[in-house]
Symmetry: C2
Subunit: 247 residues, 2 copies
Amino acid sequence: MRIDSKDNPRFKTWLSLLESAGIRKAGLALASGGRIVNELIHHPKVRDLVEAVLLPPSSEKLPSAARQFELSDQLYERLDEYGTGSPLLVIKKPAIENWSSGDPLPEGLVVVAATSDPANLGALIRSAHAFSASAVILTKECASAFLPKTIRASSGSSFKVPLFSGPRLSELRFPPSHAPVMLDLKGKDLSEHKWLKNSAVVVGQEGQGVPESLVGERLHIRMSDNLESLNVAVAASIALYSYANQK
Amino acid sequence: MRIDSKDNPRFKTWLSLLESAGIRKAGLALASGGRIVNELIHHPKVRDLVEAVLLPPSSEKLPSAARQFELSDQLYERLDEYGTGSPLLVIKKPAIENWSSGDPLPEGLVVVAATSDPANLGALIRSAHAFSASAVILTKECASAFLPKTIRASSGSSFKVPLFSGPRLSELRFPPSHAPVMLDLKGKDLSEHKWLKNSAVVVGQEGQGVPESLVGERLHIRMSDNLESLNVAVAASIALYSYANQK
């Protein structure tokens, strides 16, 4: 089927997926990028969630069971925010369970993210996946895991990691099963930390860190130039690496 | 002085600083972000390079010796790509020396970057600074270190780290003083690597890695899920952390 009109109801829904509110309302997400799209349509956890394939004019269909739409140049370009030129996927947003403070957590390393920049959140989700975190809890401050930018930076991992929707950063409280660890600019040197198998790593907001009121071990990454700080996804990934390296 | 016309020659020069070609031609760069700008106007390496402060309408002057210009809303918004709402800085691009294959390198850890995404390059430069790399060599494939996006992601470190302009990735050859180390998806486990004090870490292009022809030790970051990879700035930063941790 071909779509040329910007007033087409399907197109209007897809366009709304460029913003968090539209994603929430439609329960759908838009994924782009040749390599990522190709990987997602074959991934056992994702392929059945693909609801539509959006093709640029006169391009070949993808090997997917989902319905395929050809878009006019103009419509396609509005959805292809990153100028990939490749087919886009409309994917059902996986169910995200609520996690309330004190609720049980899965065994292993749980990452709690409050990053407000979608590119940082995506890179962090990608690292959480690569280092086999058992869950990623997104606090109320956190960006949406299903914005096109987050999905892209996550390299598709947004659809593969078990995600939970958590409370505000300041309201976090962990069950006794998990040792809470806060990434901070001060605290114990990360390289001296002995990780417990069940740990919950809290990653604060860009430039703001973790509220002082939160109880737990504070770890910092020793830097040669102590005036500096690291990108939040970089800092969190170094902590995940340190955990994975001990386990 | 107030500028309202988009035909003003100064404004046209500033506008050109949103692209690599304009930066090269003018020898200037544009920095944005309240915290970054405030830090750069006081930094001993940078404050004398500030050539102009660009203020949004009716905002206060900054404590800088540089000439200050008030822009109309419309002109300011075209330069303030990230919607910071804060004053922008026009800064003389620091001199970047050429480094040719085989040339001597400064002692310590040298980072060789071929990352084509400015946000990744910025995060990498920020980490290189935080972990005291002695130099960052930008290969021909690499994005500009002085694009507004790179500067922003570097948190201003683009102006503080010794940068060199290098050859193409495939033409790299290092002097005997430095042990070349390539970040790759295969190779020795990073956690088992004994770093030499003088090392040159090569960070390839996004999704492409380091050419097979390059001679040197190949290191990979062990991941629990071996199908996955990390963001390039994340992977490189983990390697820098590993070096800094042994030194």
